[in-house]
């Protein structure tokens, strides 16, 4: 009985896309190394990384514009990486949209259905529906050069979605838009994805964008996956120093454990970790300011001199010199003025043990 149930569960939960040990070399340059990643049906996965981390290359391998030097890409039971791009049920929204300049908005959106030789009546109704969905119906007869960047973005989206792909790839589609439009598009894109229920793989270098939109984030660094987790987990429990620093601000506390006590510069607290060198990540918002009387049971306290205060509106970032070479960044909801010497306190449980991120070439 359980075997049957497990088998059924296995089929139901089987990921849509499975990337297995994919590597890519350009000559001697190892752009991707041993990437394994699953994407579930209906999931919004973001591949996050700096420029040169290999994120676009990974996307291009899934789309079929590059071939992997090693490894496999599977979609269901189908080996994807041996198919040419035009046979993959995957569509891409390109960084600079790549709309066909000689075709109207409508013809651009109809392109995929036309080459698939769908009946004309079906084409026109699906194109109209897709343009409606991205609110571009009024521009149907315009040429791409006559509409704005944000509008081109929507057309590119409609052109991809009209084909009802199983997976949509988005290569930094928002990077060319200005900040306000970008935020608006983030929300729209996310709600569109929920509505159509198609898996999205979204590539970006913007960690905030990744946090806002994704179900899961795959953090890529120098061609290797650093951490794959939900935004909350990757923020709250980063597994490496790089992940902690790349996503949000953090304090990296370097020290060592000896006989059940963690010691990082002037800070000490009880721990159950084994002896040895350690590295902790402590988020600035987890540090309290002005803690004369302890409220935390596992509170760690330190006194320091304020070096710098940066006002950000809703919050304020304060750099505090705690002595012994330790500078902590603290986020408060407004200190109410200039500070000199302050007491800091944080919960030992908020100091997350992370792995060192060794330099890679």
């Amino acid at each position: 009985m359980t075997a049957v149930r497990d088998a059924v569960a296995g089929i139901l939960c089987r990921p849509l896309l499975r990337i297995r040990n994919v590597a890519k070399n350009f000559g001697k340059n190892k752009v991707l190394r041993n990437i394994s990643l699953d994407v579930a049906e209906g999931e919004f996965l973001t591949i996050l990384g700096e420029s040169g981390s290999g994120k676009t290359t990974l996307l291009r391998i899934i789309a079929g514009f590059e071939s992997a030097s090693a490894g496999e890409v599977w979609m269901g039971d189908e080996r994807l990486d041996r198919q040419p791009p035009y046979r993959r049920r995957v569509n891409t929204v390109f960084q600079h949209y790549a709309l066909f300049p000689h075709l109207t908005v409508e013809q651009n959106v109809a392109y995929g259905l036309r080459v698939a030789k769908r009946p004309e009546a079906e084409i026109s109704s699906r194109v109209a529906e897709a343009l409606e969905k991205v609110k571009m119906s009024v521009h149907a007869k315009s040429k791409p050069s006559k509409i704005s960047g944000g509008q081109q973005q929507r057309v590119a989206l409609a052109r991809a979605l009209v084909n009802r792909p199983r997976l949509l790839l988005l290569d930094e589609p928002l990077s060319a838009l200005d900040a306000n439009l970008r935020r608006q598009m983030q929300v729209e894109l996310k709600s569109l994805q929920r509505e159509v229920g198609i898996s999205f793989i979204f590539v970006t270098h913007d960690q905030e964008e990744a946090m806002v939109m994704s179900d899961r984030i795959a953090l890529l660094r120098s061609g290797e996956l650093e951490q794959v987790a939900t935004p909350r987990e990757i923020y709250g429990r980063p597994s490496t120093a790089y992940a902690a620093q790349f996503i949000g601000h953090t304090n990296l506390l370097k020290g060592e454990v000896r006989a059940g006590v963690s010691r990082c510069g002037p800070l000490t607290w009880q721990t159950s970790l084994p002896d040895g060198p350690v590295l902790f990540s402590l988020r600035p918002e987890n540090v309290r300011l002005g803690a004369e009387n302890t409220v935390l049971s596992d509170g760690v306290r330190v006194r320091g001199k304020v070096l710098h205060q940066a006002f950000h509106g809703a919050t304020e970032l304060i750099r505090v010199d705690c002595g012994d070479g330790l500078v902590m960044v603290v986020r408060t909801s407004g200190s109410g003025g200039a500070l000199d010497t302050v007491d800091l306190e944080f919960s030992a449980a908020d100091a997350v043990l992370v792995r060192e991120s060794p330099e890679r070439i």
């Binding site: 079929g64 891409t92 390109f94 790549a98």
Partner: protein, 273 residues
Amino acid sequence: MTLPPLLWVTAFLLAPYLLMFCYSFWSVSPTQSIVHSWNLDNYAQLLRVDVYWQTLLRSMWIAARVTVFSLLLGYPLAYFLSFYTEKKKDLLYQLVIIPLWVSYLVRAYAWKTILGSDGVLNTLLQYVHLTKHPLEFLLYSPFAVVLTLTHIYTPFAFLPIYAALEHIPRNLVEASHDLGATPGQTFWKVIFPLSIPGVLAGATFAFVLSLGDFLAPLLLGGPSGIMISNIVVSLFGAAYNWPLGAAISLCMLLLVVSLLFFSERLEKKWSFS
């Protein structure tokens, strides 16, 4: 600052054209001197005497064939170079350009050596016993003219096509494949339409340049391969009928200018930047 160029254009371009325009309305006296009396006789003669308009039509027919063959050779070459070569692109490009540095006369004579009765081709054909006698139509025929002009003007058709293909953003090709279009569909629906301005420019070059050519027909055309420029040359030379020569030249000029005008209009219609 603009005066010297203006003077230059006036002295070397406008004045000669104006002079030619005037000549076309003058005539030649029986004693072989130019009579400066205004009349339309030259243009009337153009329409009346068969050899003139027939030669003009034949020249256009030859130029049209040269254009088609240059495009048929130049386009695939440009396409291959632009899309399927990477490291060797510059070298291959230079190889296409190099013939342009070789004297036109040398290339025309080369064809003469290849196509003549004792030429390379006929000798070879007889040697392998494909033919018993030399093929006479090879040289001194419109065939020879079309062949030579195609050889000479293919690079001119190639260059603008290559430039147009190089300007096509490669992500458009990727987008097309991504949307399910096969390489063939992508060529006809994306690449070719976007290269049309280049094709039009190349076709215009090949047509206009071969229409006015007189060396290839002179060296390789024979009596049946005479083109309109050969007539103009003889009218300005041995025949000493400058007014009629000017009238023919003016007609050709009008033809070429209107052609350039239309091809430019078409190119604009097909360019998207």
